[in-house]
Chain length 185, copies 2
């Protein structure tokens, strides 16, 4: 099984009008994504934000569970949060993942709007081949990643779809569904 | 495709020590579950709580998006919240679902601890047969549903598993993953 990483992108993302903006880190994204990532054997999940105050906020969310009340309240929550790494840029995340995995990861783009890309089942097969490269999967907050991030991607995943056309999932749900499709049993 | 319903259970659930407790409704559960449910064609998602103040709180969360700021901010959020129904008891949810679907739903139990039950793939096949009965899937908040709810279930689903033993998913993630396994394409 190849090494798998996630990166939660805050800038550049788009807002509901398609403008390029920077979104805020939410504590719930960190918690839910940590628990899903740990369940599916993700090596590290990166919270990417260039604003120092935002990174400090994310650090306090994690430290609360590492050292304070949370440690005694729920050890499984602490365990999951240990795979969260807070970084400045996507480049930092990719560089760190390259060190952990021993080689640069395939960069995988996700979006609620892509239809001509790769299916998750095909990516799963690719990641399960014996000589598979590590992979880092990018998830956009806000209303999705800015188009510029497509230039960074080696693989563009198709949108998650149900029976109909509506697919306005939370980023927390999208992370859990894609991880289940790639690693669930 | 058979009619599909969800019920989010607040009592009776267990806490981290296995004691039977009543959990609180959270606005984020409502939002995330509404969006996942709408993506996967769920007919109605019931928020089950016997305490009037808790039901009123849930109603204000929905009304905020139905009438106020939210209506203009994000119509897709409003659309998703329309399938949320706030009810007093699980019996009320099952009765309502029976009316909507025209016959009583199979009651499906979920848990992070079940291993001798049905796989989601088998339930998917069952729900896709031409004469399939409607189904209502129960999800526990807190640390999961109290054991007494097993007596209500026609089908007990196995826990969601990744590659390892850790499966401490949020209820929001569990809902989205099970819906994707049952209805994703």
């Amino acid at each position: 099984m190849s090494e798998l990483f996630l990166a939660l992108i805050h800038p550049p993302v788009v807002d509901r009008n398609g403008r390029i903006v920077t979104s805020a880190i939410t504590s719930l994204d960190i918690h839910d994504i940590a628990r899903s990532a740990n369940t599916y054997g993700v090596n590290r999940a990166y919270i990417v934000h260039p604003i120092p105050e935002q990174r400090e906020f994310a650090a306090t969310v994690i430290d609360h569970w590492r050292f304070d009340f949370g440690r005694s309240f729920d050890g499984r929550r602490r365990e999951a949060l240990e795979l969260i790494k807070i970084v400045n840029t996507l480049d930092d995340a990719i560089a760190d993942a390259s060190v952990v995995a021993g080689s640069p990861p395939l960069v995988v783009h996700t979006s609620a709007r892509t239809s001509g890309g790769m299916m998750t089942a095909e990516l799963r097969r690719k990641l399960e081949t014996p000589d598979a490269r590590p992979a880092i999967i990018l998830f956009g907050t806000g209303f999705g990643m800015a188009p510029s991030l497509l230039d960074r991607a080696d693989i563009v995943l198709n949108a998650i779809l149900g029976p109909g056309d509506y697919n306005h999932l939370s980023v927390r749900a999208a992370v859990s569904i894609i991880l289940d499709r790639l690693r669930g049993r």
